[in-house]
Amino acid sequence: MKTALPLLTFCTLLGIASGLVLDTYKDVLLMLPGLLILVPVIIGMGGNLGAILGARITSALHLGIVELRPTDPLLRNNVLAILIVGMLSFFAVGIFGHLFCVLVGFKSAGLAKMVLISSSSGILLTLIITITAILSAFISYRHGVDPDDTTIPIVTSICDVFGVLALFGVTVVVL
């Protein structure tokens, strides 16, 4: 419990920062519940993608089979795969998000706009997560810190803040 609390506190503070971003756009969100239903899933999916990439890179670091250079085959494959998975997932989030809205009678931004908002903010978030996961894994490893302990909490917390920022950045442009 003593080791967990400082990290939990740090994550909570970033969570509050993310909440403040939400609060800033409260009026838009309450007018368009279609956006509100995307909030947990975008934060969650960003964390999932980051956790997968982070876990994969840290295992490869421990095995000594990955280097931080753009031509490294393992790094290239992992990044490419996460970008593909990210694009497919956030495309699906847009489609199902719209369907859920229709199903429960929430006001959606419309299928095309929901997909556009979800995909664009998702791709933006996936890029941010990819860079964060790679850097935090390699930097931790280089400083003798086990990247398994640091990468996922860092990625998920960064994702909280940038997930909602990406969502609203894109929404402002689209709507």
Binding site: L8, L30, L36, V39, I43, G44, I84, S89, F96
Partner: protein, 199 residues
Amino acid sequence: MPEDEEYEEYIEEYASVSSIVKQSLPLLLICIMLGLFAGVVLGSMESSLKALPGLLVLVPAILDTRGNIFGAFGSRLGSALHQGLIQPELKRDENLVHSITAALGEGVIISILLAVTAHYVILALGRESIGIIPLTAISLIAGVGSGLVLTALIIVLAFAGYRRGIDPDNITGPIATTAGDVLAMLALFMAAEIVLGVM
């Protein structure tokens, strides 16, 4: 850097783009459905969100701490099962009670810290908060309520899985984050209703 055949094989088998996509996508689709369900609950809270300024600020942090606290709880439970420190039976066990107490204790501390910090940050930014007591009450009810259900769910599923030869390490993490999101949103919904009823 081992540039030999073994390395080529590893890349082919475990790190090809298609294998990563194929193995991760199905689980992620389930997570999307549950995440959207959590979103629907959030969307249904329109009246509470309007009546209780500051409530929305708590949402990402509450979702996040569920995953962090109970992800770690699940991970410890998995390790203890593997080491034989805990038997997969629902009976009073010193080690199990310790883990549960730690997870629930962290939940209580973080729920209070979360609400108090959020309240003062909201005020510092010149925005409106419903007040430190209602905010803390909502955070505590939602945190402890979802924490209790989540603890039970993780223990039951980890034990049932372990007895059937499923590695609890493969299932407790996704349960903690995804079921955590849904349960936290439901608990937050109920906590907001309770506080609205009392106020």
